[in-house]
């Protein structure tokens, strides 16, 4: 309690001894993270960052939301879904249609655009999750093929190949957001998702997910209803993907069928594998690696960077290398570096 009013000097010592400073409170960390990320538009209006970075970082935040859901599904529960992009697209098209064509308020459209994909998800989960995990992958692949075709062909609803547009959200019916404020909305949504996910995975639900992945038989013997918890994990992943799709369409402002392909689902999967399975910050790190590095760095490389598909190779190679050699993901680099540093320091002190 005293830590809240501590000065910086005292903070440092307490941090080392007591470990109870507010900086160690995970919720404070999430909010602090949000505040820092929310500064991007400020930096851009101050001329420090190019304004296109707002869109880039914003889409990383959006993909992080979907990836967080996939992490619950694959990282915790061990189930593979190939339908992430399909559900994101479905929610994006729905929200665009509901707000632009039917004139529904943003909040209502958000709820409906999450509810419908979740219901579809539960139905296909009921069909496929009674067996071993492999069926979910195949069934979600089928569903995403059906959805892709729907985006292309159901023109009254999706406007076909020319794509569908949407506006920045209007909150509570009067607060019209612009690009920068929508960006702040993305940050708020991501921080809320981080907190909810943190609570879930550290509670009994998270342990039940762990048990399903780690030992199916132990989970069953301890009373975990496999179908129920697999469905829950899949429904949560679908809900996160749908939220991400809604945020996408109201931030990027348009949606094309070609966005929601298998390649996108694989990219989201790459996010969690590369960043770190079962890690909240790892998911965000992964999203940054998969979606920023190809855009910012790889394109600067002469010749190679100009070739179409180089970013796919980058993600693909990273996925395979991380799975084989660094299965906990790149987020584990930080604690390991810190450990190395401490060891060196310790050695130096004992030598000295």
């Amino acid at each position: 309690m005293a830590s809240k009013i501590m000065g910086t000097g005292a903070g440092k010592t307490l941090q080392q001894n007591g470990r109870k400073t507010i900086l160690h409170n995970p919720y404070f960390q999430f909010v602090l993270f949000g505040v820092i990320i929310a500064c991007v538009p400020l930096l851009s209006s101050a001329g420090i960052l190019r304004s296109s970075y707002i869109t880039l970082v914003g889409s990383v935040l959006i993909y992080s939301v979907a990836a967080m859901g996939l992490n619950l599904l694959f990282g915790y529960s061990g189930l593979i879904s190939l339908g992430t992009a399909g559900f994101m697209g479905l929610a994006a098209y729905m929200s665009a249609y509901l707000t632009s064509n039917l004139g529904l308020p943003f909040e209502l459209s958000l709820v409906i655009s999450i509810a419908v994909p979740v219901i579809i998800g539960i139905l296909i989960g009921l069909a496929s999750l009674r067996m071993e995990g492999l069926y979910l992958a195949i069934v979600t692949l089928c569903v995403s093929e059906v959805l892709r075709k729907t985006f292309e062909e159901l023109e009254v609803f999706t406007n076909g190949f020319s794509g569908k547009t949407a506006a920045y959200p209007k909150i509570l019916g009067f607060l019209q957001l612009n690009r920068d404020t929508t960006y702040v909305l993305l940050v708020v949504a991501l921080v809320i998702i981080m907190i909810l996910t943190y609570n879930l995975v550290n509670g009994q639900t998270g342990r039940a997910f762990h048990a399903m992945r780690g030992s199916v038989v132990a989970a069953q013997a301890m009373g975990v209803n496999l179908l129920k918890y697999r469905l829950l994990a899949f429904a949560l992943a679908t809900a996160y993907a749908s939220l991400s799709g809604v945020l996408y369409v109201h931030f990027i402002k348009y949606t094309y069928p070609s966005t929601w392909t298998m390649g996108m689902s694989l990219n989201i999967l790459a996010v969690i594998v590369i960043g770190g399975l079962r890690s909240i910050y790892g998911t965000i790190l992964g999203a940054a690696i998969v979606f920023i590095i190809p855009d910012l760095l790889l394109k600067q490389i002469p010749v190679l960077g100009q070739i179409n598909g180089f970013s796919y190779i980058f993600s693909g190679v990273l996925i395979i290398c991380v799975i084989m050699f660094y299965p906990n993901g790149l987020i584990k680099v930080f604690p390991e570096l810190a450990g190395l540093f401490r060891k060196k320091k310790g050695k130096g002190e004992s030598n000295g």
């Binding site: 009994q204 342990r207 762990h210 048990a211 013997a221 301890m222 009373g223 975990v224």
Partner: protein, 273 residues
């Protein structure tokens, strides 16, 4: 089947589990063949037999991981009723007060020891997913209380200081204890232990014998175990059932079993090394 399930079967007041004419076939092979035995309350009951006798299969049938071809399994539940376990869902068995361990320790490597133990309290977590996500008071209280309970169980088994370490990478003896701790979280009436001493050294095995005794008294439950270590079985069990090739060989007190001709024959060779 349905008739059998609803038929009222009464166990004698001091009985907790009755396996009646149990059989299971795997593609023509009779892994368990018309097996019948009864466990009394507060007993430490041992199931022995040479390798491949079908001991673990019997456990898997009782806990419904396998669906028996024929037979009945009557159990006095924690609600005092007597129910046939056949046809129940695997995950519902623990709710009746019957919990088990596994031959190859089945823990979650990526979770801390105390979290592994908390999985054993799964059925006692009543807060909804939403209240867990929002950390509503109910969810907090539940988590706090059960965590305390898990700590006291770990304390009782002498490994509370390891509670925050990951299960992955711990020595085998510790893992066995964690798995045992996990079974104690649900106020069990009957604990099934599948080879609790496998992989333990002599000192640990002796400790285990002591622990099993005190668990029985402290938690007021019955213990049913499969074990290869004959010394352990003979020293702690009140009652032993010996099987071979899925069939009952003998049933009796440790000394009766030791002097039984057919048991000696079945073990001949196996006992000598």
């Amino acid at each position: 089947m349905a008739e059998k399930n609803t038929a009222v079967h009464t166990l004698a007041p001091d009985e907790i589990l009755q396996v009646k004419n149990l059989s299971i076939n795997f593609g023509g092979l009779k892994a368990v063949d018309d097996l019948t035995f009864t466990l009394k309350e507060k007993e430490i009951f041992g199931l022995i037999g040479p390798n491949g006798a079908g001991k673990t299969t019997v456990f898997n049938c009782i806990t419904q991981f396998y669906k028996p071809t024929a037979g009945e399994i009557w159990f006095r539940t924690n609600k005092g009723t007597v129910e046939n376990l056949i046809g129940k869902q695997v995950h519902d068995i623990i709710r009746l007060g019957l919990v088990r361990t596994f031959q190859n320790v089945e823990l979650i490597r990526e979770l801390s020891i105390i979290d592994n133990v908390l999985i054993g309290a799964h059925i006692d977590f009543k807060a909804s997913v939403l209240s867990q996500a929002l950390k509503l008071p109910k969810a907090r209280r539940e988590e706090r209380e059960l965590r305390q309970q898990a700590e006291s169980v770990l304390d009782y088994l002498g490994i509370v200081e390891l509670k925050d370490q990951l299960a992955g990478g711990q020595p085998y003896g510790i893992l066995k204890k964690v798995e045992l701790a996990r079974t104690l979280m649900c106020q069990p009436r009957l604990i099934i232990l599948d080879e609790p001493a496998a992989g333990l050294n002599d000192v640990e095995t002796e400790q285990l014998a002591e622990t099993i005794h005190t668990i029985r008294d402290k938690y007021n439950c019955t213990i049913f175990l499969v074990e290869h270590d004959m010394r352990l079985v003979m020293s702690i069990c009140n009652h032993i059932c010996a099987i071979s090739f899925g069939k009952l060989l003998a049933n009796g007190t440790p000394s009766e079993i030791q002097n039984n001709k057919s048991v000696q024959e079945a073990y001949l060779g196996a006992e000598e090394d």
